[in-house]
Structure formats: C-alpha cells, structure tokens
C-alpha cells in the first residue's frame, strides 16, 4: 500500500432504503481502505450497490451506519461529523463522472478554475492553478477552448483536472472510461495513476470496463451490498 496513513477509510458502512417490510439494504458492512497515491477499482454488477457506495463516499446521501475517515478526519461515525457537506465535497472530494459533465458555458480553464474560485481563492490564483493542471494533463493547448470543441478524451482529462483543482485527498471516478475506446481508456487510467502518485490522492474508480480492470493493483468487488477485496495485477 503506497504512502502513509489513509486517503479514505470505510468501516462497517451500511445503507438502508425504506423501512419495515419494504426496507432494502443497499450496503451491508462495507469496509474499504485506499491509501494516498493509490488507485483502486470498485467492480460489481448492476444493482450491486456501487452507486450507493459512491454517493455515500461523496457525501450526497447519508449512510445508515458505519464510519468514514478522509485523511485524518472522521467525517461520518453513525452520523455526519461535519456540518458543511457542501464544503466537504468542494475541498476534500473530487469527482470524475462517466460523461465529463463540463459546464458548457465556461471555457476549459474556467471549468477547472471554478472549484478554487468556489473555495474562495482569487480568480488569478485559480486560473493559474487550472493552467498548471491542464498542462500536467497535456490539454494546456486547449485552455481557451469551449468544452464542445474538445474530443471525448480531452474532455475527460479536463474533468480529471477539475477533480484535482482543490487538491482533494480523495477522488471518486464513476466509470470514467465508459465512453472511450481502449486506447483512450487506458490513457485515462494511466493519467489517474500518474495524478494519484503526483498529488498523493486516493482514487476509487468504479467500473465494469474489462479493458481497464487488469490495470488496478487492488480491486474491490461489490456484490449484494458487500465488498470483497482482491489483489489485482497492475500493468504499470
């Protein structure tokens, strides 16, 4: 496990929808640990609880029980320990979606700079940070372009830059390679690994893309709301 301490740690996490006879346990005693600089895969069939787990990790739905630690801070322990979940998502969790979901009316630089701006950094500092990330992700030459002018791979790299903009300890990637061909999908995984190492970010990649599954050193399988860890064989 690279790095010291935890990027994110989940202990005994569960999520129940509904009550009584209609109650559904979407997550049952989920345990997961991802170190800073590590990229792990989260794999499971449809309805296995992947999205529910991602939403719990992303602090958009409240787990029923369990404990979550991001960096050194416990954010959930049978209840939220942080009052401002919006700020938590903004500053400490990065998101990469299946589709890039860039803001269509902002150019590439401002799509990335928006997060530091929302965190209160000046426009100048935010744009400087955005340009550094875009350069690191090899899309610096498209900094002034509109999202609609980019290819799918470029858009996904901008989305990764946006996720990294506030240097969060954790990035949640929800099927980030789904719309890409093999070559571009592997390139995105390579970028995620590079960024994880470079910025010491813990990255969880939810996927059932057969092309990229072999690239993960560690893989969590999720089935019927429970996780099972499996050692993978990283290509890097």
């Amino acid at each position: 496990m690279p790095g010291m301490g935890f990027g994110i740690r989940i202990e005994g996490l569960s999520k129940r929808y509904g009550e009584g006879d209609t109650a559904v346990d979407a997550l049952k005693d989920v345990n997961m640990t991802v170190a800073p600089g590590e990229v792990v895969g989260l794999i499971g069939p449809s309805g296995s609880g992947k999205s529910t787990l991602l939403k719990c990790l992303g602090a958009v739905i409240e787990p029923t029980a369990g404990k979550m630690t991001v960096g050194d801070e416990v954010i959930f322990d049978n209840g939220w320990k942080i009052t401002d979940l919006r700020a938590l998502r903004r500053d400490r969790i990065g998101f990469v979606f299946q589709a890039p979901y860039l803001i269509p009316f902002l150019d590439v630089t401002d799509n990335v700079a928006l997060l530091p701006m929302l965190a209160g950094r000046s426009n100048g500092d935010s744009r400087k940070r955005a340009k550094e990330l875009l350069e690191a992700l090899d899309v610096g030459h498209r900094a002034q372009a509109q999202p609609s002018q980019l290819s799918g791979g470029e858009q996904q790299r901008v989305a990764i830059a946006r996720a990294l903009a506030n240097q969060p300890p954790v990035i949640l990637a929800d099927e980030p390679t789904a719309p890409l061909d093999s070559e571009r999908a592997l390139a995105v995984v390579r970028i995620l690994n590079d960024m994880a190492r470079q910025f010491q970010t813990a990255i969880i990649v939810v996927t059932h893309d057969e092309k990229i599954i072999p690239t993960f050193k560690r893989i969590y399988h999720i089935r019927d709301g429970k996780t099972y860890e499996e050692a993978g064989q990283a290509l890097h």
């Binding site: 991602l54 992303g58 958009v60 998502r89 979606f97 269509p104 009316f105 902002l106 946006r162």
Partner: protein, 397 residues
Amino acid sequence: MISLAGRDILQSWSKFVLTGIGLGLLIGVTLTMAGVYRGMVDDAKVLLNNSGADLWVVQQDTQGPYAESSSLRDDVYRALLGLPGVARAANVTYLTMQVRQGDTDVRAMVVGFEPGQPGEPGYLVAGRHITRNHYEAVADIKTGFQLGDTIRIRRHDYHVVGLTRRMVSSGGDPMVFIPLKDAQEAQFLKDNDAILNERARTAANPSLNRAGVPGLLEAIQSSQNANRNVNAVLVQIAPGATAEAVAQEVRRWKHLQAFTRVQMEEILIAKLIATSARQIGMFLVILAVVSAAIVAFIIYTMTLGKIREIAVLKLIGTRNRTIASMILQQALGLGFIGFLVGKTAATVWAPFFPKFVLLESGDTMRGFVAVMAICALASTLAIRAALRVDPATAIGG
C-alpha cells in the same frame, strides 16, 4: 468569482437576444398602451390650455361643452362681461363632423370662435390667423390639410389660411377653426327642404299667419331661421379675481353652469376618458401577466435544460445562492434586453399612431422597475426547480 449567468448568456447570446427581442416587442406594446393613456390625458389638458379660458360657462345642468352637449343663447356673454372679475368672454361652438376635401373626408372637430377672443388657436406653425368674417379656416396639421387647400363644411367651402398643431378634441380628432357665425350656421342651420317645410307649417298655422297683422309671418319665419345658439362661453378672469368666485356668481345669478379649469380637467380626465383609461389599465394588467408568464416559461425552460450542469455544480460545492443568483441574473438580463428593445420600439412606432402617444420618462422608469420586478418574480419558479435538484443525480446509478 466569475459570473456564471454572464458566461451562460455570452455562450448562447443569439438565443438570449432573440428571446429578449420577442419579450421587448411585448414590453413595447405595454409602454405604448401607457403612452396612449398619457396622450389622452395630455390631449385633454392641451385642449383646455389652448382654449385660453379660465372658466367654461355652459347650459345649466350639463357638463358641456366637451363631455355633454350644451346650448346657450349667443348674447349670454354680454351678461357675463358685466359680472365683477370677468375680463373677457367669448362664444364658442364645437361640432365633430366629417370635413370634406375633394373626394375624401377627415373626421375633425370644427370650432367656431371670434377672432382675437378666447378660443382662438394659440399659435400657428404656418400661415396666418383668420382675418375675414367668413369662409376662412385654420386647421390642425393632423387633418392633413395644407395651406391654400379648399375644404367643405356643410354647404360652404373654406380656404385654409393657417395651420396649427396639437389642437385636438378629447377624442383625438384634429380641430378645424372657422369664424363663429359660419360655425353656428354649420351646426344649427337646417337644410333647404327642412326650411321650406317649416315655412309651410308656420304659414298654415292661423294663429301665426293672421290676415290682419301684416309682417307677422315674415317676422316669425325669420326668427325660426336665425341661429342664436352657441355651445359655451369662454371666460378669462381679471387679475385679482378667482375663477371659483366668478363661477359661483354665474351659477347663482345667471342660472348657468360654470366650470373652472380644475373642474373641467376633472370632467375630461375622470369622466370623459375614464372608461378608456380603465380599458387601457386592463390591457396593461393582462400584458404584465403575459410578460411574466413568458419570462417565467423561458427561464424555467432554460433552467430545465441545465439540470445536469446544476447537479454537477451542486455536487462540486456551489452554494444554492450562487445558483439562484445565476438564474435571477439571467431573468433580469432578459428583462433588461427586453426593456431596451421595448423602449426603442415604442419610441420608433409612437409617431405613427393616429392618436398622440406620450411616452413619459416617469412611466419609462416605472416600466423598467416593473419589468425587473416581474422578471425577478418570474424567475422564482426556475430557482425553486434548480434548488430542488439533487446533487446525487450527477453521479447516476
């Protein structure tokens, strides 16, 4: 922090501007409706101002001469001149009719006045005042008549010797000024067949056609054909006297009705054009509601088109008030563009309206505030929809 609303508008400016133009034309109609009402009020005030009178003396128990018909004997003004506080008094007649010029005719208010007396048009834009006792006319330029034109009123032709402007009736009809005697004849004189018929009836009446009284029948027939009526007497008050005091004297001793300028304004504005004003008010309310509905629909639709982006914005930590502000700014931006277009459109097309359209700066300011308020109100629907968006929808699953 960058302006999300501004960027969104810049990115889809053509759609935004076209929508603003559509809204603007509606706002232009609204401003014009307000201008039509203001024009009617202004016409009424100009009508009173241009008459040069401080007091309108009319038939008892009437609200003439503009709101109701009024008929006075034309020697009443002599009695009025004898009252303390009266400086000048002059007869006038008003008759709305079709004035013919060649094969066409124009609806106009024909005013009979005595040259040099109250009731004469205050200023001319071309030509000269009437100097002859008969068959000369001064016309408002809205009639379309030119200097030297010959126009026909009843049986007689009149020569247009002067042109004036902004001289219209309370109904918006342009005025044509002619000498009082001609106007009395035009208003009260019967046609030839009616005169012959009347003479025959009088001659057949033995009490009016007595064999032993020579000249009686001729005297009676002459009296029947003479026109001794006018519609009102315009009075100017002497310095130091008050119009109300003179009006009370007229009402008490002369058994006539007298209105001061304030009372006449009240009759014209609160009574004569009150129905039209209510009609326009209803239009304004409907147009305001339609504008609000259109803005609400447009902003709501635009917001629904950005639901996924709003979910992403919320997921990455954008405050609700930032998102609400973005939608509100877009609604206000749309209103601003609409108002600019509307004001420009109203200014451009107002002169082409047949009636005077007065676009007051106060109304423009009030209109601007109303448009902004309506847009802000209309955006609440879209803001509510945006604030209900669950950030979890960005993640899917």
